[in-house]
Amino acid sequence: MSCALLLLLMSLALAMGTGAAVEIQRPRGVPLSKRQFYEENKPFTCLDGSSTIPFDRVNDDYCDCRDGSDEPGTAACPNGSFHCTNAGFRPAFIPSSRINDGICDCCDTTDEYNSGATCQNTCREMGRKERESLQIMAEITKEGFLLKQQLIHEAKRGQEDKQGKLTELQGSKKGLEEKVEALRTVKETAEDPEKEAKERHLKAWEEQKELLRMEKDKTRMAEAFLELDDDADGYVSVAELQSHLELDPDSDGSLSETETQVSQGQSEPPAPVETPQEESRDFVSDHDSDHYPEDYAGEEEEDVEDDEEDDHDEEEEEEKVTPEKREDDEVSMPPYDTETQSLIDGTYSHLQSLICDPECISICRNLEKEIGFDFGPSAEFAYLYSQCYELSTSEYIYRLCPFNRVSQKPKFGGSETNLGLWGQWAGPEGNLYSVMKYDHGQGCWQGPNRSTTVKLTCGKETVVTSTSEPSRCEYLMEFTTPAVCQEPASLDEVLHGHTEL
């Protein structure tokens, strides 16, 4: 019978432990730190002070203390706990309800002393394994931390670089704006009806010369873009800008000389695109998402249509700003000076389009956005920006593009599903940068929009190690990166701390 007198048994477990030299007598289940409260043959006072009982009622398999402290070694108290010494491993407290329940909980087997369960002492083996894994972890952490320092360094340089480019671009844009302003004056002058036409012609030609010079500026700007492109490794918007430079003047069809010059000025082939077109779309989308997050609730047809509509709106708005004006100008344009007039108009609108060029604006915005991102305390996560990492499972290919989006594509055909767009850092307090949250993914039937939690762990490689869907449409991704490696405590310290057990 289990009521059979569970007397004060000396802690046999300690004797079995190799590391512990001294046998210390204390009631079963009492940790060393509380030994002084259990003095043999003296009345025992419950640790909460609620009552005092004869010492023979300690561990007598009946709960006398409200806090359970009189039964550290039996299951009698519902709120009690049992201390396993676990020599060779880590000591532990288990709930009293796990004493003699037929299941081995303490690696030193001390919790199952009267249940008939056959438990093996696994403490030394577990200790060894833990030390091994700690050692491996420590090595990873060490190397990872070194890599992290590098990342921080590079991030700092990259950041400065980008800030420089942005300043340059903004400056160049400002220059263009000034020119346009000047040209506008010219234009207005030119549009003065039938007054001193020749002078104006002359002036216009001077302006045209000026314009040629400005085109050289523009070429320099394009080169600046290209330069930037190299730095940023596959910047799509630049590519689009290039194609734009080619195409937009074509459609205008008025500045042929200048256009030729521009083409000649381009040293590289028209589309030195390093990233596939579709990704470029993604990128632009991402930029838009700041303004239209609801567009990304899903990628169903409806939403796509919405996107297109929104794009239309933008275009329409732009048209309202410039081309309408141009139409007005055309109406009021004196008919006899067509050549000059068209030249001026062409140049003007082209420059205007350069300044207001959505691609150009996009580059600036993206730069601003990137610079504004929270890449961690030391920007150690900056290297993940504009990268994507994939994990292939039996059914799907999962794709994590940090600070952008998470997606899932069936391996054997079918469209990609958006599992969430970059939301925020979502780690617990004190460890904010250990978890990324991506939300507002494609909607689920009767459920929430898809979202993904990315758990970051220290590793030498940057890689997605696992994905799961613990709850419908709520994904979990494990991701290793050196950027989360903490400065390692010295390995000796780590191991020392544990061998003491």
Binding site: M1, S2, C3, D60, D61, Y62, A75, A76, P78, P95, S97, R98, D101, G102, I103, S394, C444, W445, Q446, G447, P448, S468, E469, P470, S471, R472, C473, E474
Partner: protein
């Protein structure tokens, strides 16, 4: 589980259009859309064409037979009357010479009910009077129009065809080819033409009728005038609504009537689609036969009229004459058997979800319970665990090593349930399908080919479970060497056994599908019972007949209680659904099915934290205690809602575990004598009219009264404590309250109002561990709640918890605890049994006690010792410290 994916699209569309979340009523027939119901309901009362041909009367030792004639068409019926042992009357009516045999329900009665002789008291041209034996009960057969009256003394208990609604559509030769019936896109060929039957019952003096589950409605059945009748037709109803008479997953055609004077039952043994009309006519306007006029002087008598309508088969009615609720339970149990005695662990807590994704998920959830110190016994796997919805298989990627997983659970003394549904994927590389097809075991379509329908796996066949050979084969598939990856700690769940056919009429099987010679029309409501039966038999056989099975099913019929547990199907995470779980399970309890539960948390949608906590608190005090959730809902394991809510749920589950000895004893009684575990108050307080329509609280056995908090944001509940002169003790505070009062109880989110009846003794196990198996040898604490007369009685039942040895070898302990004359004793209730337990009595808590000067324990060997005790004068609670006696032995404690 489960929704019907293939109709999801439609429903989703419907949901978008209406913007509401509800059942799509258009998918299911109203009485008007069901041709036979419409025809039958159109009949007017008081015009019965049936006449008894008294000259054909024959009386034998066992029965009376008599022919009836329909004066309109001259078709003759054969009436058989039986007086059954245990105060029951059976009335059978069939065509005298049907064109072909009509279906009579097999396999529901546990035997041919033993009869007692009827004797003829008097006879004239108007009718005959027969004696039903005891209590001056008489059966009066009136000839024109035909009617039956059962009387006791001068009181009419019940009349048949008193409103003249007996209608028997005789089988005919196809005349005009107009027999087809179409509902939505489905056509029912009805090759046998109209074959429906109907009979009315009048219950003078009765205002309350109950039963005929399954409906999401109040416990007390409502009058159906002006609306649809209650429908009994096993259907997979997607997102069912509460408080309406629509058919649901199961059907038990048993109704109980109750008044302060008497409880009776009507068991309408018919497995076809059935509708039940109820009208309450308190003015008592029904015209009685001449012979009865002198009896019924008053027209004030309240009366309930009931009418049963079934699509095919015969009239076969068992009238259970009570007179007490207990008697009716025994009578019904003698006909259809009692609740299967579940393994003890099945009464503990079950953790389910559609779906636990893979082995790692199962391990993580298992560990989660340990990490948060919440007990559980079973973890469940829904359909996604299979290899492409092929039951008896495992998904090779998600569950590559099922035995490792099961062993992991076994190591923690826990168990698993996997789902095995009765629709079989039509796939020539699937062994189960190939065998069923080659053996010809599938249900056939009207054209004779294998019937196929759409369900989870896509195109599916439906094994003909009505075929005993099929059932035997199915059972053999649960053998450990057949069901690969199965182990002894793995049990079974039969879902979708209505059967659910996504593309069938009303999401079920075509009525003209064939089970051997019979149409699905004839036996539709019986299919689910056979599925659960075959599965339960499989689990028994795999252990060589040693182990008790545990099988949960969604569809059921009368007799299903013999095979396992049922649940209320795909409910929703709404307060209304929490509330309705009480009357739904009470209704089932009244008609034999004690092992009932609702999905804790609600299946569809996501519960608020408060609703989830309240549902755990309610579910902890309902028989089948399982949390379940739809695939599309966020995870809701108990620890996902913050530490406070984890603690609340832990406490509710722990209360369940502590009370398992009492639950086990109640289930032993349900198994042994057919008494329900969960009871409406009127069952124990039959004369207290205040209790007759109560369904927001209930009793467990006789001794615990539970009033769960089911209102959002509740600050208090008003519980009714019955019993004039009785007292009730709050089980948490030990506060004493008087009976026969409405008690307002202020509540917080941690409150679960539960009261123990003064006069009872309830055993508990205070040492709650991580599973019920871990608590097997733990000691008991006895809670003795004294009546005002300082008396109390209780029981304790112990056996091995999982085998049939209690039955086959009488290996059990059954003790009677009595407190009287200041002495508490334990005596053997089952001298012929033997069992040894390690459990002992660690504590005795006496509520409503006075302080003794000493407490003396006398053990079975005559030794005496003094017990220490504590007395709490403010609450009058006496706690006796550590008697230490073995729970299986005699002992007495005397207080002085």
């Amino acid at each position: 589980m489960n929704s019907s994916n293939s109709i999801l699209g439609l429903l989703w569309l419907a949901g978008c259009l209406s913007g509401t979340w509800a059942v799509d009523r258009g998918n299911f027939k109203t009485c008007d859309q069901s041709a036979f119901c419409k025809r039958q309901r159109a009949l007017k009362p008081g015009q019965s064409p049936y006449r008894a041909l008294l000259e054909t009367l024959e009386l034998t030792n066992t029965k009376l037979t008599l022919q009836l004639i329909n004066d309109n068409n001259k078709v003759r019926l054969l009436l058989e009357l039986y007086r059954l042992q245990g105060n029951m009357t059976r009335v059978k009516i069939n065509e005298l010479k049907p064109l072909k045999p009509r279906f009579e329900v097999p396999d529901v009665l546990i035997n041919d009910p033993p009869t007692e002789p009827l004797s003829l008291l008097s006879r004239d041209e108007n009718g005959v009077v027969l004696s039903l034996g005891a209590d001056s009960q008489r059966l009066i057969v009136s000839a024109k129009p035909f009617r039956l009256d059962i009387m006791e003394g001068r009181e009419v208990l019940l009349s048949l065809n008193s409103r003249g609604l007996l209608a028997f559509e005789h089988l005919r030769i196809l005349e005009d080819g107009m027999w087809e019936e179409t509902f939505k896109s489905h056509t029912d060929s009805k090759p046998n033409g109209p074959s429906s039957i109907s009979l009315d019952f009048s219950l003078p003096g009765v205002e309350n009728v109950y039963g005929i589950p399954e409906h999401a409605d109040s416990l007390k059945l409502k009058a159906t005038d002006g609306g649809d009748p209650y429908r009994l037709f096993n259907l997979d109803v997607f997102q069912y609504e509460v408080f309406n008479p629509m058919a649901l997953y199961g059907a038990i055609p048993v109704m109980l009537s109750h008044s302060a004077q008497r409880t009776m039952g009507i068991f309408w043994l018919n497995a076809a689609e059935t509708w039940v009309d109820i009208s309450s006519n308190t003015a008592g306007k029904t015209v009685f036969g001449q012979m009865l006029d002198y009896v019924q002087g008053s027209s004030e008598t309240p009366q309930t009229d009931v009418r049963w309508i079934s699509e095919s088969g015969i009239i076969d009615v068992f009238i259970m004459l009570g007179p007490t609720p207990t008697d009716v339970f025994s009578q019904y149990a003698s006909l259809t058997g009692t609740q299967a005695f579940p393994p003890l662990s099945a009464l503990a807590y079950h953790q389910c979800r559609w779906n636990y994704n893979d082995q790692e998920d199962v391990a993580a959830v298992d560990q989660g319970f340990d990490d948060h110190d919440i007990p559980y016994d079973f973890i469940w796997l829904d359909i996604e665990h299979t290899d492409g919805k092929r039951y008896f298989t495992w998904d090779p990627h998600k569950f590559p090593q099922p035995k490792d997983m099961l062993q992991g659970l076994l190591d923690k003394r826990r168990k698993m349930v996997t789902i095995v549904d009765p629709h079989i994927k039509v796939d020539s590389s699937y062994k189960i399908h190939n065998e069923i097809r080659s053996k010809g075991f599938y249900v056939k379509s009207k054209d004779g080919g294998d019937y196929e329908g759409w369900c989870w796996p896509g195109n599916s066949g439906y094994p003909d479970f009505t075929n005993p050979e099929m059932r035997a084969w199915w059972a053999s598939m649960f053998a450990y060497d057949q069901y690969e990856g199965s182990m002894e700690n793995m049990y079974t769940w039969n879902d979708m056994n209505e059967p659910s056919v996504f593309n069938g009429p009303e999401v079920t099987m075509h009525k003209d599908a064939l089970h051997g010679n019979w149409e699905n029309r004839d036996l539709h409501n019986l299919y689910g019972l056979y599925v659960q039966r075959a599965t339960a038999e499989g689990l028994i056989e795999r252990s060589g007949g040693v182990e008790r099975p545990f099988v949960l099913a969604r569809a059921f019929f009368a007799g299903s209680q013999r095979y396992g547990a049922v649940w209320t199907g795909d409910n929703a995470a709404e307060w209304e659904h929490l509330k309705i779980s009480i009357p739904m399970c009470l209704s089932l309890s009244l008609v034999g099915v004690s092992f009932c539960g609702a999905d804790v948390g609600g299946f569809f949608k996501s519960p608020s934290t408060e609703l989830l906590v309240r549902w755990y608190q309610t579910g902890a005090y309902q028989p089948f205690f399982r949390a379940h959730a739809h695939l599309d809902t966020p995870r809701r394991e108990p620890w996902l809602f913050g530490p406070e809510n984890t603690a609340l749920i832990r406490e509710a589950v722990r209360q369940r575990y502590a009370l398992l000895p009492y639950w086990y004893q109640l289930f032993y009684h349900a198994h042994h004598s057919g008494q329900p575990v969960m009871r409406p108050l009127w069952v124990e307080y039959p004369q207290d009219t205040a209790t007759f329509s109560m369904d927001d609280q209930f009793l467990l056995g006789r001794d615990l009264l539970v009033h769960p908090v089911t209102e959002e944001g509740a600050r208090g509940v008003t519980a009714y404590l019955p019993g004039k002169g009785e007292v009730w003790f709050d089980v948490h505070t030990f506060q004493k309250h008087n009976g026969a009062q409405n008690l307002y109880i202020p509540v917080t989110i941690s409150s679960i109002p539960v009261f123990q009846r003064g006069g009872s003794i309830i055993p508990r196990k205070a040492r709650v561990r991580r599973s019920s198996s871990c608590m097997e040898h733990d000691p008991y604490t006895l809670f003795v709640a004294l009546s005002p007369k300082r008396f109390a009685q209780g029981e304790l039942y112990i056996d091995d918890g999982h085998t049939f040895n209690f039955d086959k070898q009488k290996q059990f302990i059954h003790r009677r605890f009595s407190f009287a004359n200041n002495a508490l004793s334990s005596r053997n209730l089952a001298p012929g049994s033997q069992f040894t337990t390690f459990s002992w009595v660690e504590k005795i808590v006496i509520l409503g006690a006075s302080k003794p000067s000493k407490a003396t324990l006398k053990t079975h060997d005559g030794k005496e010792s003094q017990l220490e005790f504590e007395f709490d004068a403010s609450m009058s609670v006496l706690t006796l410290r550590k008697p230490g006696v073995n729970a299986g032995l005699d002992w007495t404690v005397v207080l002085q």
